[in-house]
Amino acid sequence: MTTQTIEDLIASHPFFIALGAEFTRFVAGCAKNRYAEKGEYLAHEGDEAAALFLVRRGKVSIETNIPGRGGVMVETLGAGDMSGWSWLFPPHKWTFDIKALEGTSFVELNGKCLREKCEGDPRLGYEVAKRLAGMMVDRLRSTRLRLLDLYGDHSA
């Protein structure tokens, strides 16, 4: 069995696919391989947003706490998804909770480290920003489709 390096894990994740060896090495300097047990929180709303998560296996939920209702799930993310962009945008605070719904393997990239590398090398910064923007466009489209409530009864 061959052990995958953190660079391998980053290079094979859809978010960083075709990033190139040089940038992958660079980004890997901010990364660690992690595992969260079911029920463990990866992020808490309002805390400093210090990470980007690349989910490799398992499932996480994006949720928020509503008084009287508890944690309300907005979306689930699984293998191949990424989560966390607040580390790039002031005030660098998590806007939702992220919770493991099952045992979840993920790569955690330190947000501050990544931000500094992106600012130090605009080519890397542009690559990362492009990927983040693409992912946000995708999430926005999904959210809009869900807002349309397409499966609801619109005959009334």
Partner: protein, 300 residues
């Protein structure tokens, strides 16, 4: 090999000869799928001639004194019974949904084009269904299960409004469990997502939350040899097609089922016209390349 599904029809009337004469069917079973959707099982009761109905085709269902609407076949029983899954939205669908066991209604059909399952042999297949769109896809899924070894990888991706709005939910695990006979072939992947989970259903829901297109794989190993069948709200299908094209699946291998208001169902009245097509006759199943230019035209 004939992949058509046998359907019993009245002996004297072959709808290929007289498309306007409904046959009388009797409700022999009802399954409540969701709060507003019911699957009606019906028999012709006369042991009539066998007709070929194919996955994706629809029938015109007539409720005495109320009216007639198109409804897809959601399955054909081994005993020749017809299964239609009906969502109560207006007078006819409500009347159909309210029929009791032993009561009768009219059926003419089957009509329209079907999912081109035979021509997909050898290909990997993606099935993407939104809401009630799973109904016309269910016979196709049954075919994929029955002839599993004739296909490459198979992924079934279903979206619903909430866990309680899933139709055929009890079948999902059976589809997932179905193992191919050929060695090395993969089992079918079944994934389900919902738009929202009400608080009281939170603890019991272990599927995904999000739009159905988010279930699609990010890449597929051999897109040239893949095909997709989609059915659901048209907006959902337009977005799904874009994602399938991104995966590298060719336009002519993406099939979708369209809905338009219908009256005659045999290409005569023009009610279902979509530019140069009559959806009842040239559809409801179209390949995307045939209708691409029509899907974003307003008021069609």
């Amino acid at each position: 090999m004939s992949l058509g599904l046998p359907i019993n029809v009245q002996k004297q009337v072959d709808p290929r000869q007289n498309s306007f004469v409904p046959r009388v069917f009797t409700v022999t079973g009802k399954t409540r799928e969701t709060a507003d959707t019911v699957t009606i099982k019906a028999h012709s009761g006369d042991g009539g001639v066998q007709l070929e109905a194919r996955p994706g085709q629809f029938n015109m269902l007539y409720v005495h004194g109320i009216g007639e609407i198109p409804v897809s076949l959601s399955a054909v029983g081994s005993d020749g019974s017809l299964l239609h899954t009906v969502r109560r939205v207006g007078p006819v669908s409500k009347a159909l949904g309210n029929l009791r066991i032993g009561e009768s209604f009219g059926v003419r059909g089957p009509y329209g084009t079907h999912w081109p399952l035979e021509s997909l042999h050898g290909r990997s297949v993606i099935v993407l269904a939104g809401g009630l769109g799973l109904a016309p896809l269910r016979p196709a899924i049954h075919h994929l299960l029955k002839f599993r070894d004739a296909f490459g990888e198979v992924g079934i991706y279903c979206g619903a409004r909430s866990p309680a709005d899933r139709i055929f939910a009890s079948e999902f695990s059976r589809w997932q469990r179905e193992k191919p006979h050929a060695t090395g072939a993969k089992s079918i992947q079944v994934r389900v997502t919902v738009d929202r989970v009400p608080d009281q259903a939170k603890a019991a829901w272990h599927g995904e939350i999000g739009v159905v297109t988010s279930l699609l794989p990010r890449s597929i190993s051999d897109p040239v040899n893949a095909a997709a069948m989609i059915c659901g709200p048209e907006v959902m299908m337009r977005h799904a097609v874009q994602d399938l094209l991104q995966l590298g699946i060719a336009k002519e291998h993406i099939y979708l089922s369209l809905e338009r208001n219908m009256k005659c169902a045999v290409g005569l009245c023009g009610h279902c016209q979509l530019s140069r097509y009559f959806v009842c006759r040239d559809g409801p199943v179209f390949s995307f390349d045939a209708v691409e230019h029509l899907l974003t035209v307003k008021e069609l």
